[in-house]
Amino acid sequence: MAAPARSRPPHPRPRPVPARMRAGDVLRVGAVGLRTRPLRAFLSALGIAIGIAAMIGVVGISSSSGAEVDRTLSALGTNLLTVSSGTTLMGEAARMPVEAEAMIERIGPVRAASAIGKIGDAKVYRSEEIPEAQTGGISTYAARLDLLSTVGATVHRGTWLNAATERYPAVVLGASAAQRLGVGAVGPDTQVVVGGIRFSVVGVLAPVPLAQELDAAALVGWPVAESRLAFDGHPTTLYTRSDESRLESVRAVLASTANPEAPNEADVSRPSDALAAKQATSQAFAGLLLGVGAVALLVGGVGVANTMVISVLERRAEIGLRRSLGATRGQIRLQFLAESLLLSAVGGAGGIVLGAGVSTGFAAYRGWPAVVPLWATGGGLAATLVIGALAGLYPAVRASRMSPTEALATP
């Protein structure tokens, strides 16, 4: 190199090439702002965390409740069809023939059939002292002995009716009927007044999800209803269990089989559909809450953007210094983008933990299986990264465009 003095260097001279920053260095440099202003970083990450937690919580809780419905349905079965007597064209209560139950049992795929018959005049009172108007909304039904197995009901306390008790004044109360009457213990001494006659309470049912009309019912035996309560013997609701695969064909013939004279009067329904529909409704509501969560997330993103803009303004001197140390514009941009992404990612991770914790806690409180869908977690994380990138983009570009001399001039 000991060449004679020249003002131009020897040719060719390799052009200087900026060194690539290692991924670890990008993260470390991006974390500088978070480390030096931890409170501000925490607060703006909190904004993101609340938004994500709200969304994860809503999705988690509604998924958990959906899982609970699925669990209930798989326990109860979805092959229950009911036929109600319905109303006539004139609007009066229709009546199914007495033989309706026997007829639908003859439909091939029907595995089991049972019936209840409403005893319209028989009101239920705790004692004779209760004023007649205070019926408590409890209906009295005559029930077949195979009702419980057909609708999937269980006895909460005491026993179900049997071949002996169905002939005598014995009653089994639905869950809410027992609550309204104030019946706790069951036994021969626990009596209620049904249609003016004292009946012994022999059992109390647990709530019946697929036949909720039974919850507010007093169930007596078919024979005693006919002999003591002036029951006409016509069933008002038929319950059938059929082969799952042929449910639709059973459904098609059910009304005309139960009431051949006036098939239009009989209402056929599938109670599991009602439960699923209820679930769908609550999911629509969850969708609304999800929207609220999204708005919270958006506000969190604006918070991050705000923090980043302030951070860039405050750290002009640092930007100038880094430029003088050899940072390219791209590396400055990368630094602030990394900072914004880190900020959002920290908030997002916190939000996911918080949201998952809230939905798990709520599910545990309600006795549901806790479900936090993976798509919600992944989606939440992806959303935070997108928000972090968007929030950081403008401040990062602004930082990179800053003239190093001006940046250095403001200490």
């Binding site: 190199m1 020897p10 200087p16 900026p18 500088v32 030096t36 880094r322 390219t328 200490p411």
Partner: protein, 276 residues
């Protein structure tokens, strides 16, 4: 160390005009050879900070040619200039620009982050640089635990950790008391003695007087340059006694610029321009 055949810094008729028509630099020509220790001295507003920014490639001239370590600044893109700064130029600022709450070692090591070195190597070099500036016992102290002079030493360590051939110091003693300032100047002299080309900007004529070469600026022009004094139509008397000191120190290398011959007229033009 063999110095290459081209100057470390070469400004040819450089002007820098800011929007609004203020000419911070007005036709400045200057050449700084490898291994020199130069003071650029002048009152505030004389354009010396702009000169430092232009030499440091943080700012581009409005017109004229700037060559740093042989590279034409106008030929290089912004990122190529960044790479040049990362490898070739070290900066020392009046207000240190150290990161708060970060130990001295990391402050120095982080200065090497844009050189592409691995973290362990950066820390190793940072430790060596702190040792070199006499702060080997202070590596784990944070800036607020250090005195002003020590902080500036950390900043110098950061500037020289990557062994840049050119060190630019902007009022390095401006925020220090005179004792610390003298220490920092001593350190810069030592670095220069080990081969680093150093340009110090100062408005303090006393500090400038202690340096081998002084370039005085006023209103964006070079009004005197002790290296070319014999070609100038005038010479400020105050600086006279130190010229001999500079001649002794750099006597060996002085022959070269004059041997280049074609440089002389432009120097003369710059000097007479400044005198006009």
């Amino acid at each position: 160390m063999t110095s290459p055949g081209f100057p470390m810094v070469s400004l040819e008729d450089v002007s820098r005009t800011y929007p609004g028509g203020v000419a911070a630099l007005d036709g400045v020509s200057l050449e700084i050879r490898h291994g020199e220790l130069v003071a650029i001295v002048g009152p505030s507003g004389s354009g010396k900070s702009t000169m430092l920014n232009v030499v440091g490639t943080l700012d581009r001239p409005t017109s004229g040619g700037v060559r740093i370590d042989g590279y034409g600044v106008s030929d290089l893109s912004d990122s190529e200039l960044s790479a040049l700064r990362a490898t070739t130029i070290g900066f020392v600022f009046q207000h240190f620009h150290l990161a708060a709450r970060v130990p001295a070692l990391d402050n120095v090591a982080d200065g090497l982050v844009y050189t592409g070195l691995a973290r362990a190597e950066r820390r190793r070099r940072a430790a060596a640089a702190l040792e070199r500036v006499g702060l080997g016992h202070r590596v784990h102290h944070e800036p607020h635990e250090l005195s002003g002079g020590e902080r500036q030493r950390v900043a110098i360590a950061r500037a020289v950790a990557g062994d840049p051939p050119l060190l630019l110091a902007d009022e390095p003693t401006g925020a220090l008391d005179s004792a610390s300032g003298a220490g920092v100047m001593g350190l810069l002299r030592e670095l220069n003695a080990s081969g680093t080309t150093i340009v110090i900007i100062t408005h303090d004529r006393e500090i400038a007087a202690g340096l081998p070469r002084r370039v005085a600026m006023r209103d964006g022009r070079v009004v005197s340059d002790s290296a070319t004094e014999h070609e100038k139509p005038y010479s400020p008397g105050r600086e006279e006694p130190h010229v001999t000191g500079r001649e002794e120190r750099q006597g060996a290398g002085r022959g070269q610029p004059h041997g280049a011959g074609r440089e002389a007229p432009s120097w003369g033009a710059a000097a007479s321009g400044g005198a006009a």
